[in-house]
Symmetry: C2
Amino acid sequence: MDLLDKDGLTESEFLKQYKAGDYERPSVTTDMVIFTVTEDEADSYRKLPEKELRVLLIRRGAHPFLSKWALPGGFVRPNETTEQAAVRELCEETGVEDVYLEQLYTFSDIGRDPRTWVISCSYMALINSDKLELKAGDDAADAAWFKVSYRPLREQKELIVDGYIKTLEYELKLSSEEEELSAVVARTMTAKTTSTGTDYEIVSNDGLAFDHAKIIACAIDRLRGKVNYTDIALHLMPKLFTLTELQQVYEVIMDKELLKAAFRRKVADLVVETDHYTENAGHRPSRLYRRNLEG
Amino acid sequence: MDLLDKDGLTESEFLKQYKAGDYERPSVTTDMVIFTVTEDEADSYRKLPEKELRVLLIRRGAHPFLSKWALPGGFVRPNETTEQAAVRELCEETGVEDVYLEQLYTFSDIGRDPRTWVISCSYMALINSDKLELKAGDDAADAAWFKVSYRPLREQKELIVDGYIKTLEYELKLSSEEEELSAVVARTMTAKTTSTGTDYEIVSNDGLAFDHAKIIACAIDRLRGKVNYTDIALHLMPKLFTLTELQQVYEVIMDKELLKAAFRRKVADLVVETDHYTENAGHRPSRLYRRNLEG
DNA sequence: AAAATAGTGTCTCTGAGACAATATGAT
DNA sequence: ATCATATTGTCTCAGAGACACTATTTT
């Protein structure tokens, strides 16, 4: 096809002479919300340990937000996609490849990075506890897994002309062995007869860098939403697991207790039973399952 | 807080002396998938007209992809968010403000724009047929609303080590009064014991610019997904509408016929009845409803 | 009366919630 | 025998699917 444009150029001629304009361009980064599930120390070895949802944060060693905790991430380089950048970051920080990865949201608020114009394309990754052990081999001394708590704090509904504004505030608490961070994030839904929109805002923030409280909140909301109608939670499980362990993972994600019988019916199609059982648990052994790839 | 970094600078000192590096940065654009629903000409005035899902495209007047059809969009400018850029583009192209807007996905494949490195943050907008009339006032002579058809074409499942690859091909057909475009887009799901990923690919493409077939496919998938568990479809309705009209909109989005009784039960909480009725329809009048803001 | 659509009734089946009962290995 | 968890059974209730019936206006 040799269509000519208004300057009489073919497409290949046009591309040859094309020069990128000198208007300002943003930096583009990826920020990764990397989740895993760990077990706390059990009170007694006969009792089951409780599961904890954890997210990886890195202490900043430079301005801005020096010594605050930030999501792992970095600049997207030429000749790589945002997803490739995310995979690269993930591998650098955790030494783990081949995990569940999902694009979350692209954040572009002006001033979100005090240095310069930075747009961040965020990703969520889920790592199972098998792989987590590999992580010991990374060099970032100032990386830590923070236990996640994300609970509704306040709900508010304000009527406006032709609609309403609903604000849901969540308290985000992140705790590692040494440190406790917290933030309050508000999800605002504006509903008018014509339009509707949802927006995250940081109400308060203690210890997190940039707008990362927002990004983490966004990731948890996504994870909670998807847990109920996909097999996403199975990516947090090791190769073999018991149904009770799986239920604990669902519970720690949803922050809500579930009924055993109903849960087992619900996940029945997501798993396949094996012939293996737990051993020496101090009580009746439990059948081990694996993920069913026939989702 | 006056923490000093390794150069002995405070945060504000650091920011004052900060100079953006001279590494390469991408251009960032927004692309808008703007949907609306229109009615075709009815065969007889006594029969109800059928609904059509339509998307706005603009014929390119310059290289690259000269004379192909593209989604409305443009560069994100400094001091605006991607969302603000989307609102601006939407208003420029359709003269419409205050509509449903949702971020879709950020596309960053290398080479997606043959000119230079361009990352696109895509948005979906839903416009109701009331507002559509305003659109006559826009200047883009080469803009047109294309009727959308998006149907499964082929399904393929390939077993690999530790998992499988499932490919779902869809045929995307876009037709305006004068022109018919078509493309085949494949959604590939790779499931392995550890990871899972979904990816869009353009298999064939006749008449669409850039990777816009992918973006449109992504938008339709999102719209179809959300129709069933949100009130998103109501943003395509005028202020007052009949339940049959609403059902037709659901049907044209899902490309599937629904049962009347079940449909009415399902949307009962999404709408509020009014005291108005249709008139002079050639048959029994129908009660008019409006959107229920108590989602 | 016929055409065309509007609106309602009801039977069945499935799936979630709730709770109870039984099973099994470790101590 | 007791502890602690594993696993299954079943009753109920709510919602979706399927189909049929009645209602109302215009021609």
